[in-house]
Subunit: 366 residues, 2 copies
């Protein structure tokens, strides 16, 4: 109670913003029942394009769908806890909820990485099918419950770009010794082919590129990268989303807070997450398209794909990294077995459907 | 009121099924407020895989998210109105809501076709981005409002198959004179290259193939096609989703019923639709993958792609059909201008992101 009162006082401005969502029709019902208020800490700057605004919209969905019975106050990175302490803060109950990406916690929960992005893994549609229908959610629940957390997919970036490079990459030799910002399993794979990777919050990338701490950096995709001005610190923008063919943004709920919710509010949180998952990939698709046009047409950014020897090396290294992790960690073994079995099942259909269509559309010049 | 009472009596069994969703926690609140009950007519057999069950799940979402204040009774094709009379029935208020596909109404509202599937058009992710962020929903609202309807995307099949053919297609000549079930703009395009297309409810396809009324038929994809046993009446299963790279399942709400809803229930319907949209494409992806495996491994179905001359002819014919429609119908011109502008914007990003990734994944043998 002390903590809650402190937060309420210290966050008056934010609170007013969140309260603005409670439109008139909800007031009478809300006041007749207990209103549940949660804090949600995030790994993004407050209102950061798509990621931060997506978290805000999720909170709005919960408030509207709960008829004002439940409010979620969204906090930017660093407001209550630093960007990369969201997992610990929600597990400990410092905040009831978090919005982040599971691969940030690989040092603590190795298996968490399979719930953001897997190098050369499934795309967004395949990943959602695994989470919702292929057993992914149940595994994620089981692994996170050990850390007092209930996870949800609350957004997806879609296929990302491979990152910004100051120099063009013409062969595997050009990758040697590069300092690259890239988290997760893909970062580990890059380490194996001679790159030195680091993880840092997105907000530190620009300065690190400017000062030479980094030679290259992956952030998200055109929309978020343009927002950080990464085209000002590197000329070459590499594609093929080998590193993050899909990246789930995770909502984490403190398990005690989750268990204390009545069933209907559990449904509200669950369905608001599902709706936000689709809303975010849809917004990313639109805004990335606009931003890529701006980057190429207005800023002269050079789009590139890695040469074949780099791709093959990255694929082999990714396999190696995943197999080592699976050998060393039972939860990783369990998560990857499920992930891989689903990918094996879904690929023939994806290839005959989505991939074959994209190929055919391009082939006829549509 | 007479009609409502009649329906209540005549649908006791169905009503009991729907009422089963109202779990104990909701009862006290629901009974303290007016409960709104809607009928939803559909173009699918009751509980038909993914399409019918998806409609059921949408109704469940509305009931749970409204805290039991709103119930939707789902009716299979032919229970209240025939499969292809959903649009008229909802417009007239015979039922408050429908679940169908907009291209079934092309004879009545030509522009409606752009809100299901466009030959050589956008895939599911691109289509959702257009609907939610690119102005698609506003245009759809405007066009349907003229028919006293408010539309929603309530599901998507994803990239479909091109259909079942009794004989293998080796050139454009083999298509001449074939009788094919294929609705929408794609059906029109097929007519232009020498095929005779018909539209009929899915439930009539099997018998029509058996009796020779049809030589070939497109229904949906592996999951739904397996359910109708189409592999028993044709050996060749053609891919590339040129005809339906994505197909929105539409929810239609009678505009008077919509306007009478309080704002919070409007939000419930809107967000339940969004959540169902993602749930259905996720389920289709999973079940199509399983069904394709069954069709190929257990039933020996032969997967094929059309030869190049057929694809080029279909692309040219599709362009011709769309341009003629656009020239003859102002609403079609408006809808297609928006659709096409969005596709032009999104393609460079989709090609660099999703398509390039699928290509790279296949190239390394992942």
């Amino acid at each position: 109670m002390q903590r809650r009162r402190f937060l309420t006082n210290s966050l008056k401005t934010l609170g007013a913003g969140a309260a603005g969502i409670a439109a008139a029709p909800f007031v009478s019902t809300a006041s007749a029942q207990e209103t549940i208020t949660w804090d949600m800490v995030t790994s993004w700057p407050k209102n950061f394009p798509a990621l931060g605004t997506g978290a805000n919209e999720f909170a709005q969905r919960v408030e509207v769908l709960s008829h004002g019975r439940m409010r979620i106050r969204v906090h930017g990175a660093g407001e209550l806890v630093p960007a990369l302490e969201v997992f610990d803060a929600v597990a400990a109950g410092t905040a009831e909820m978090g919005h982040s990406a599971s691969y940030y916690w690989r040092g603590k929960v190795a298996a968490a990485q399979f719930f953001t992005a897997v190098p050369f893994g499934m795309n967004t549609t395949e990943t959602n099918a695994w989470i919702y229908y292929g057993g992914g959610q149940a595994l994620w629940d089981e692994i996170y419950a050990k850390h007092n957390l209930k996870p949800f997919a609350v957004g997806n970036t879609g296929a990302q770009m491979a990152g910004w490079f100051k120099k063009e990459i013409n062969s595997l030799a050009d990758m040697q010794g590069l300092k690259l910002r890239l988290p997760g399993l893909a970062g580990e794979a890059m380490n194996r082919i001679g790159v030195t990777t680091v993880n840092m919050p997105g907000s530190e990338i620009f300065t690190s590129m400017q000062t030479g701490v980094l030679d290259a950096a992956d952030w998200v995709g055109p929309y978020n990268d343009l927002a950080f001005g990464l085209h000002q610190v590197a000329d070459y923008y590499y594609t093929s989303a080998w590193n993050e063919p899909s990246a789930i943004l995770e909502g984490t709920v403190n398990l005690d807070a989750w268990n204390a919710l009545p069933d209907d509010l559990k449904a509200v949180v669950t369905e608001a997450a599902r709706a936000s998952n689709l809303a975010m990939i849809s917004e990313f698709t639109y805004r990335n398209a606009q931003a890529l046009e701006t980057l190429v047409d207005e800023h002269g950014v050079q789009l590139r794909t890695f040469p074949e020897d780099v791709m093959v090396a990255l694929f082999d290294a990714s396999e190696e990294v995943i197999q080592e992790q699976v050998a060393n960690d039972p939860d990783s073994a369990k998560a990857y077995a499920s992930y891989q079995a689903f990918q094996t099942l879904v690929r023939p259909f994806s290839d005959a459907g989505e991939f074959e269509y994209l190929r055919a559309r391009a082939a006829v010049g549509a």
